[in-house]
């Protein structure tokens, strides 16, 4: 245990005078901490590495070789094929159809859900009315109800409204199910702003919408970024709602990817499958890599209670 205490010693000395302190870079405890972290990191990176390597090999090399080995002959053929020729059932147009469908689903869903949730969160934090807290509590609890419980009645409702199997339908569904987390996010953010601002604006005669548009919005850019990241990744990664509510011509990329890879007919082309998988994961991954801090805030918001 002396090793573990040594780590703590080092970490606690920062409260003492600044300046160069002698560093024991290779203390046994430090080495242990780093080696465990590095081994864990390798385990986490392995699937990404395998995906990329497999997607760059030709099929003969895959059958003969080792999944961990880098390609002997790099080929981008699988990527081209995955994008524009891979087959899902009857059609062989690649997963670009799915990509564009996902774009068409994600953009309006993100915009609609964020507008509704931000206004709602603002009303709940600054303009409470009788019953508003009760509705909010039920909304939060609703986030925990398994989707399977609400699926069939929602199918009936959307069918009656004539939006089942359409882009509008899937956008409405995403807006509904994004509401609990987004409302929580915005409500907590608006509640954390100094109340004097709101009061001063009211004294000056500004109303509900004016305070929202001119005072609140300009101050809440960070939370909007968090909300956009949360929604884009969440909606892009959705499978269940897409397969039920979007309708066959609008199947999002995840559904199409699953159809390509798990289709029974034909020879399995693992390199094409992996290229298609990377392409599907690329959008949320890029968002994640470029927005690390905000992404963490977004998912933490889901865990921190209101």
């Amino acid at each position: 245990m002396a090793e573990a205490t040594a780590i703590q010693d080092r970490s606690l000395t920062h409260a003492e005078p600044w300046g160069a302190k002698p560093k024991r870079m290779f203390a046994p405890a430090t080495v242990m901490v780093y080696s465990i972290l590095i081994v864990a990191a390798l385990y986490y990176l392995l699937p990404l590495y395998v995906m990329v390597m497999t997607s760059l090999k030709g099929m003969p090399e895959i059958r003969l070789g080792n999944i961990f080995a880098p390609p002997v002959e790099v080929t981008f053929e699988p990527w081209v094929k995955a994008w524009s020729q891979a087959c899902t059932g009857l059609y062989c147009e690649g997963i670009r159809t799915g990509f564009w469908n996902s774009v068409k689903i994600t953009i309006p869903s993100v915009i609609a859900s964020i507008i509704i949730a931000s206004v709602n969160g603002y009303a709940l934090s600054n303009w409470r009315f009788r019953g508003s807290e009760v509705f909010f509590m039920i909304l939060l609890f609703g986030a925990f109800i398994p989707y399977q419980v609400m699926l069939y009645p929602l199918v009936i409702i959307t069918r009656e409204l004539g939006i089942f199997g359409t882009l509008t339908g899937i956008v409405v569904i995403h807006t509904i199910f994004g509401m609990p987390i987004l409302t929580l996010l915005f409500r907590n953010y608006f509640a954390s702003l100094p109340p004097e601002l709101f009061k001063a604006a009211r004294v000056d005669g500004a109303g509900f919408w004016r305070i929202f548009l001119q005072i609140m919005l300009p101050m809440s850019l960070p939370i909007f970024v968090v909300a956009v990241i949360l929604q884009v990744t969440g909606i892009w990664n959705d499978f269940l709602f897409g397969v039920i509510f979007a309708g066959t011509p609008n199947f999002p990329m995840t559904v199409q990817l699953n159809n390509v890879v798990n289709s029974v007919q034909g020879v399995k082309e693992y390199n094409v499958n992996m290229a298609a998988t990377i392409l599907t994961g690329a959008v949320p991954l890029l968002i994640y890599f470029f927005s690390g801090r905000y992404f963490v805030r977004g998912i933490a918001a889901g865990a921190v209670k209101g």
Partner: protein, 296 residues
């Protein structure tokens, strides 16, 4: 509402009520309305169309006697227990290691958390490829261990563990991030006090820090547990319930009965059981979390 008698009460703060309309509609129609609908119709013998011919608990009797449902429940229990224990233990250990003022903390966090940005479909397909016979099995065999067998995906009794591996890869980073945030919220003074008293670090973690982080653990537990009940995409992508029905899960059972086999009553009964399970997890948590606060 009493609003009709006193119009001003209903129309006061009208804009806020308009702004909250989508929420009110969602709560009343979707979260309450649809749930009640499902529970009511789970007591009917509806086949491909919902019909109100009540049959009591028939659907539930059939459900609990169905071997496929029992396999699903057993699978979700195995998946649930293993992923709860492993993601919390591994997530906490990683968070503790990350909290030792290490270098490259951001790099490590990025690596541990990136799978969480990927969908379950992508996760399932990657692990399907790694665990397939051309994957790890072949690598080990080529190294000279000719008889090495790792047929996780084709072995009926092992396939659920393959799903656990993939699920853990995707979700542990989230637990790590939540735990790390919890550790960072612990007052530095606690550590100083423990050090002054000469308490070993591991003891401080076990007897001081972990009890202090109870809210974080409880919240994480509830998040993971409710996620487990919803497990669906990962199974569809990785095994599609196979081989046979050996990796079936409740969410897939519900989907198949509702949308593929037109046996609505059965699907609704199964989804009502899922709802009940979530309520059993959720109600004690809600009482723990919010009951105490109201007393203040």
């Amino acid at each position: 509402m009493a609003g009709n008698k006193r119009p001003p009460a209903l129309f006061r703060n009208l804009n806020a009520k308009i702004a909250a309309m989508p929420m009110i509609a969602t709560v009343l129609v979707v979260f309450i309305g649809c749930t009640v609908w499902t529970v009511v119709y789970s007591f009917t013998s509806s086949r491909s169309l919902p019909m109100l011919n009540f049959v009591g608990f028939d659907q539930y009797t059939r459900l609990f006697n169905a071997s496929r449902w029992n396999v699903s429940v057993k699978n979700i229990a195995i998946y649930g227990c293993l992923s709860l224990v492993f993601s919390i233990v591994v997530g906490f250990i990683l968070a503790v290691l990350m909290d030792q003022k290490i270098r490259f903390e951001n790099t490590f966090r990025t690596i541990f958390l990136y799978p969480f940005a990927l969908s379950f479909i992508v996760t399932g397909l990657v692990w399907q490829w790694i665990l397939n016979p051309l994957g790890i099995e072949k690598v080990v065999r080529d190294m000279g261990f000719e008889s090495f067998n790792m047929s996780l995906l084709t072995d009926r009794s092992l396939v659920i563990y393959a799903i656990v591996i993939a699920g853990l890869w995707q979700g542990t980073g989230l637990v790590m991030a939540l735990m790390l945030a919890g550790l960072r919220n612990i007052d530095e003074e606690i550590w100083k006090a423990a050090r002054v008293d000469g308490i070993p670090t591991w003891k401080t973690y076990v007897f001081v820090i972990i009890p202090m982080m109870r809210p974080v653990f409880v919240t994480t537990l509830v998040l993971i547990a409710t996620g487990i009940v919803k497990l669906y995409d990962l199974v569809v992508a990785m095994t599609n319930g196979g081989p046979g029905i050996s990796s079936d899960v409740p969410a897939k059972y519900v989907y198949d009965f509702m949308f593929a086999w037109a046996n609505l009553g059965q699907g609704l009964a199964a989804s009502t059981v899922m709802l009940t399970t979530v309520l059993i997890i959720l109600i004690p948590w809600a009482m723990f979390e919010f009951g105490g606060r109201k007393a203040k």
